[in-house]
């Protein structure tokens, strides 16, 4: 690979030399390598699960310019894994929280902030002033956007993604190597792959993958080792097994192939079907709904209503409203346990899985079945505030 970064014009102060001494004494880095790190400009898209370890370690390593793209606000549920953010940051812009911590670690790093939602109108402009892009986003639309923008701008895309306790990492969009679309030409249909909020994620997992990303960024800058170009690392944290698969450049790839058809950024939200993450009930038929207040009123009046909970047993243990538990995945096998002559109100955590359950039951001939709008979270908000939310 041609040299990505030219460190020849950079100087390091005595303070910086002391700070990075553990790098400088390694033959793989040396003063020359540290100067390349200082000359390098790396853009981190996302300052959450993956972005936290990425930004932390790149800052510590002395990458001279780090760009951060994030429009989001720190949420209490982020703290389990997004280690850039502390309890006192809940409610703050992630960017502000991130910059405070990174500056405290290394004041020599210049941080450029992009308090924006990355989209087809701004991506190429933002990418222009950086050498490497590190993708730490959480939805398919942005991943395809980042990939395409990297290919079109000629910048490598250091990629990682996670799900529960498994992760993937690779480098896409180098000139000779494959891009993300070579591996996955199309996104999955809406609702097939849950987000972290729906599927959960082992808190340490983005830590593991984010540091793999930071390692690959640093290797690219220094020009050492064997980068993950054309290699997909699969991490199974539960088994602690690392496997590697080969990724080939697809000669017919619409973005990076010999005859590209995608020469400018497209509408990625449309490409992924609304959004690449689950956000609304996918059924096209109107699902009958009942509000929590109405259900409470009718239960208090001792009306004959059967409450069906389609969450998982471990969720039931966190909180429940004494519904009959049949997890959504088991419903087809256990539907005979339900009495279709009864009025059934179905709920889950927030109303999405239960909408699917109502759809399924109606198609199975149940006529008196409704969905609890907002799920048990809405119930905990408005009816019984003693219930824990999760």
């Amino acid at each position: 690979m041609a040299e990505l970064v030219d460190g020849s014009q950079v100087t390091l102060s005595n303070e910086e030399i002391l700070r990075y001494s553990r790098h400088l004494i390694m033959p793989e880095v040396t003063l020359e390598g540290q100067k390349k790190l200082k000359a390098a400009r790396v853009l981190c898209v996302g300052t959450g699960g993956l972005g936290s370890p990425l930004a932390l370690y790149l800052t510590a390593a002395g990458v001279g310019t780090i760009g951060l793209v994030d429009f989001d606000v720190v949420d209490y549920t982020n703290l389990q894994r997004q280690v850039l953010h502390h309890t006192g940051d809940v409610g703050r812009l992630k960017l502000d929280s991130a910059i405070d911590k990174l500056k405290a670690i290394n004041p020599f790093v210049e941080i450029k902030r992009f308090d924006t939602y990355l989209n087809s109108q701004n991506a190429l402009d933002i990418f222009r002033d950086f050498d490497i892009i590190a993708d730490g986003t959480d939805n398919f639309a942005t991943r395809y956007l980042v990939n395409d923008a990297c290919v079109l701008s000629g910048k490598p895309n250091v990629y990682a993604s996670i799900f529960r306790f498994e992760g993937q990492a690779s480098i896409f969009a180098t000139e000779a190597g494959p891009c993300y679309r070579c591996l996955y030409p199309e996104p999955p249909p809406l609702g097939l792959v849950p987000s972290c909020a729906e599927g959960g994620v082992l808190g340490v997992l983005p830590g593991l993958l984010g540091v793999i990303q930071a390692t690959e960024v640093i290797k690219l800058i220094l020009g050492v080792g064997e980068p993950l170009i054309g290699r997909l690392v699969l991490v199974d944290a539960l088994a602690m097994r690392f496997r590697e698969l080969r990724v080939r450049k697809n000669p017919d790839c619409p973005v990076c192939g010999a005859n590209p058809t995608v020469k400018e950024l497209i509408d990625y939200i449309q490409f992924c079907g609304v959004r690449g993450e689950e956000s609304e009930a996918p059924s096209s038929v109107k699902i009958p709904e009942i509000q929590p207040e109405e259900l409470k009123r009718r239960l208090d009046a001792r009306e004959d209503i059967y409450v069906l909970d389609v969450r998982e047993p471990h969720e039931y243990q966190i909180c429940n409203i004494s519904g009959y538990l049949i997890p959504l995945g088991d419903l087809p096998k256990r539907v005979h346990e339900l009495d279709s002559s009864c009025e059934i109100v179905v709920h889950c955590k927030s109303g999405m899985r239960s909408a699917k359950a109502v759809d399924f039951l109606r198609k199975s001939g149940f006529k008196r079945v409704t969905n609890l709008t907002g799920g048990i979270l809405a119930w905990a908000d408005r009816i019984d505030t003693s219930l824990p939310k999760y």
Binding site: Q82, G136, F163, R164, L183, V193
Partner: protein, 92 residues
């Protein structure tokens, strides 16, 4: 001859919650057919209505993508491992 198929996390709910399954077949295509015969719920996640492998799912024979081998006519042997690699986006 039993061949191992590695099932990724997002698909395990449709494969009896298993991470590794055994299938038989002389080719990748036969092995996958055996897989969806054992676990019919997997079919729609792996194949379109017309029976084509979905493009957000990659199938590897050992460490090579079958698109660059002979796709579903790629021959398999007993010590081989088929890995299903779907795309996931989580990062936050």
């Amino acid at each position: 001859m039993p061949i191992k198929v590695l099932i990724p996390t997002p698909l395990r709910p449709y494969a009896g919650k298993q991470a590794v399954l055994e299938v038989t077949g002389q080719t990748v295509g036969e092995a996958l057919s055996d897989l969806v015969a054992q676990y019919p719920d997997l079919r729609k996640h792996l194949f379109s209505e017309e029976g084509k492998l979905r493009s957000f799912v990659n199938v590897y024979l050992n460490d090579e993508d079958i698109r660059y081998l002979s796709k579903d006519t790629t021959p398999v042997k007993e010590t081989d491992t088929i890995t299903i690699v779907p795309s996931v986006a989580g990062g936050r």
